[in-house]
Amino acid sequence: MAEITFGEAKIKAVADLMREDERVVIIGGAGFGGLLHAKYVAPLHDEFEPRILRTPIAELGFCGMGIGAAMAGLYPIVTIGTGSFAFEAWPQIVNEAPNITYMSGGQVKVPIMFHALVGIRISGAAQHSARPQAMLMQAAGLQVIAPALASDVKGLLAAAKDSERPTFWIDHPLLFEEKQPANGGKPLPLGKAAVVRKGSDATLVGYSIDLVRCLAAAAQLETEGIDAEVIDLRTLTPLDEETICESVGKTGRLVVADECYPAASVASEVASIFTDRGFGLLKRPARRLNFPAVPVPLSPPLEQHLLPRVDKIVATVRELVG
């Protein structure tokens, strides 16, 4: 099975979109690669330079600009860079884009894709490690996607583009070098999670880099004779409750790995399914592994102490099963 890095797959996916549709433009200078992988973005510039706007450091301005461009016939991908910088553009992302279709009675579309490399990038410290995704789930009218696998990224991007909904692509710097199977590319349904590893003893739910951690945890658990089912959320809004319920109905045990802070996190939302729709399916308490409510520290041992690490996921499952 051919392998590719997630980063190369996502750049290829964007290039495909741009080749297929001349309305696609990139606002923000094609920051898909962040600091470390900027050189991988060069092919996009080579092929599509007139359609890539290198912006000043004006996130509020250029995110609003993206919204306008989307209303006037283009499909802008707005690369914000580090996830924390989304906060600079917050009014446009959560108070303009998601409201416009509704406020126009359905007549004005905002087909825009915001992109950011969010998350604990390692040594980003307090202000460059933000995870805005749970907050973005509170913007009614904003779709939030989080491809974690090279084989999914084109399908999710294409589906989001076809939906014409204002969308935020939650990307992660640590995903770039993940070597993954290269198959895939067919459009994926939005709002549908994927069972990426079948199992019977426990349900591990993750997304983005935490999906990678869940898969690593499942592999470790297998050597201990514990058979974990792993679910990739793929989209945060809309969230697929049905697939998670079906899995927990089988396993009775739920562990959610999520880099967000605990309060009102993605993990909270997943766990809350079992207080209502999934009530009675759990045999043990639902466990959430978040990044504790602490500003992200710089010093590596401090940061590592707080991360929802693979060994923490493994220990949590072991405790639930044992």
């Binding site: 209303m71 006037a72 416009i100 087909p111 909904r165």
Partner: protein, 342 residues
């Protein structure tokens, strides 16, 4: 000198200004009857700006506005019936009651939902302009905002983007506090909360074409808009105009402090006693009366012509009021629709 090229243009412009004026009066009356949900803002005193700018635009141009959008919508050609119905939250409004006054829109006229966040609309306007330029369309984006928007960082980012890339934007800063709040001893400041004395100096420093326009002068507004549009379409970039008007005294918590407008006050000095303390409005600062006086003075219209124009506008608004009053509220379930485009 006549304000617009032909007699027809001038009469049509005054008709639109009267339409806006009577629409806003109807809004205020509706609000005092308890029919307007939430807080609203009227365009009384600024009609020449909206009408002058829109007269210079094409159908393919985009128009962006703020919470003070009623005059812009009507100047652009929106249907007063649907516009008023929307303000009252009725199902027959432009957005089925979902937008209301703050987010007024007329999508079929390239007028997307107005932003109620001060400054919010400026970045968005650079985007529609960028799309028009990128698609090689001979069109521009116009964005209306108040001097208050220049207190927000978003405005500076948008001006910078427009200037950097020569985006086809016409920034129309409507300063309706031009003479009102001067700090004693600090002469020359044209807006109460800005450390900038001349907004157009700021625009020029940012490499934008800029001009200060008298908001009573319909012809000056139109000429400035026309020149800006030509500049934008030819690739020479964006323009910033500051259009100054006096604040209408009844605007803060809208109340008809000057009564309903009667066009005869353009030539007849019989202002009712109760408005005497506001005579400056009638004599100088009302753009509707000012333009009417110009049309009389240049011989474009007689007093009878103007009375007929006023009556026509008032009648159209009366019909809009009837339509809006008789329209139903939207079905409760419709609250859940139109979140997504499909």
């Amino acid at each position: 000198m006549i304000p617009l090229p032909s007699r027809e243009d001038c009469l049509e412009a005054l008709r639109k200004m009267l339409l806006i004026r009577h629409f806003e009066e109807a809004c205020i009356e509706a609000a005092h009857r308890g029919q307007v949900p939430g807080h609203y803002h009227v365009y009384i005193g600024q009609e020449a700006t909206g009408v002058g700018v829109m007269s210079a635009l094409d159908a393919g141009d985009f128009v962006h506005s703020t919470h003070r959008n009623h005059g812009h919508l009507l100047a652009r050609g929106a249907d007063p019936k649907k516009a008023l119905a929307e303000i009252l939250g009725k199902a027959t409004g432009y957005a089925g009651g979902k937008a209301g006054t703050l987010h007024g829109c007329a999508p079929d006229l390239n007028f997307p939902p107005s932003s109620g966040i001060v400054g919010g609309v400026l970045p968005i306007s650079t985007g529609t302009a960028y799309a028009l330029k990128h698609r090689r369309l001979p069109n521009i984006s116009v964005v209306f905002f108040g001097e208050g928007a220049m207190e927000e960082g978003a405005a500076y980012e948008a001006l910078n983007l427009a200037a950097l890339w020569k985006l086809p934007v016409l920034f129309v800063c409507e300063n309706n506090t031009a003479e009102v709040e001067r700090t004693p001893g600090q002469s020359g400041y044209h807006a109460p909360n800005l450390s900038i004395i001349e907004l157009t100096d700021l625009a020029k420093t940012m490499n934008l074409a800029a001009a200060v326009i008298d908001g009573l002068d319909l012809g000056a507004v139109w000429n400035a808009a026309k020149a800006a549009r030509a500049r934008a379409v030819s690739g020479e970039g964006a323009t910033f105009i500051e259009v100054r008007t006096e604040t209408w005294p009844g605007g803060q918590w809208p109340t008809l402090v000057t009564g309903r407008t009667h066009i005869r006050h353009a030539w007849n000095r019989d202002i009712p006693e109760r408005y005497a303390h506001l005579s400056a409005w009638f004599e100088r600062n009302d753009p509707v009366l000012s333009v009417a006086r110009t049309l009389l003075a240049t011989g474009l219209a007689s007093e009878r012509d103007l009375e007929a124009l006023d009556a026509m506008a008032q009648k159209e608004i009366d019909q809009a009021v009837k339509f809006a009053n008789e329209s139903p509220f939207p079905e409760a379930q419709s609250a859940l629709t139109h979140v997504w485009p499909r």
